[in-house]
C-alpha cells in the first residue's frame, strides 16, 4: 500500500505532469520492521525520474516532525515501532512559490484519520493539475 501510494501520487503524476512544471520529493522513512536504507534504495530507484528527488529519513525524525503541523495524533498514526504520532503514508501538495515545507496547500493520506481526505488517485491528480499550467 505504501509503495502503491508513492507510485500513484508521485511517479505516475510526474510521467504526466513533469513537463508542466511538477516536481516530486519522496521521504522514505523507517516505520515497519523491514524498513532500512537498503530497502529504500530500490523503492527510490523504481520511481526514478529527472523531476524527482529521494531522501532517506535515517533518524526517523522527519515523519514525527510533520505529524504536528498536520495535527495527527498517535491514535491516528498507529505503527508497530513508534509510540509517537508520525506522518507516514501522507501525500502533500504545494503550488509554485515560496512555501513552508510543513504547510502544504492540501494533503491526503492512508491513515485512520478524518483530518484530510484519504488518498484517491484521481482526486489527488486533480488537486495537482490545478497547481500547474494548463496542458496543450
Amino acid at each position: 500500500m505504501c509503495l502503491e501510494g508513492a507510485s500513484v501520487a508521485g511517479h505516475d503524476l510526474l510521467l504526466a505532469l513533469a513537463d508542466r512544471g511538477l516536481r516530486a520529493f519522496y521521504v522514505w522513512t523507517p516505520v515497519l520492521a523491514a524498513d532500512d536504507r537498503d530497502a529504500a534504495v530500490p523503492a527510490a530507484g523504481d520511481r526514478d525520474h529527472p523531476a524527482a528527488r529521494h531522501y532517506w529519513d535515517a533518524d526517523g525524525a522527519f515523519a514525527p516532525a510533520l505529524a504536528t503541523p498536520l495535527d495527527l495524533t498517535p491514535a491516528e498514526t498507529p505503527t508497530p515501532r513508534f509510540p509517537l504520532a508520525i506522518a507516514w503514508d501522507v501525500y502533500l501538495t504545494y503550488p509554485p512559490g515560496d512555501h513552508d515545507l510543513f504547510a502544504p496547500a492540501s494533503w491526503m493520506h492512508q491513515l485512520p484519520t478524518k483530518k484530510a481526505p484519504r488518498l484517491d488517485a484521481a482526486a489527488f491528480r486533480r488537486s495537482v493539475e490545478a497547481l500547474v499550467p494548463a496542458g496543450p
Partner: protein
C-alpha cells in the same frame, strides 16, 4: 539516487525551496 536527511532535514528543505518555480508534491512513506 537516495540522499540522506540531516537532523535539520537538509538537503530536502534546500531542494524544496530551490524548486519554488514549480508545483511540488511531497510523499512521506515506508519503503516496504
Amino acid at each position: 539516487m537516495l540522499h540522506d536527511l540531516s537532523a535539520d532535514f537538509r538537503p530536502l528543505s534546500d531542494d524544496f525551496a530551490a524548486a519554488r518555480e514549480d508545483a511540488r508534491v511531497l510523499i512521506v512513506t515506508s519503503p516496504t
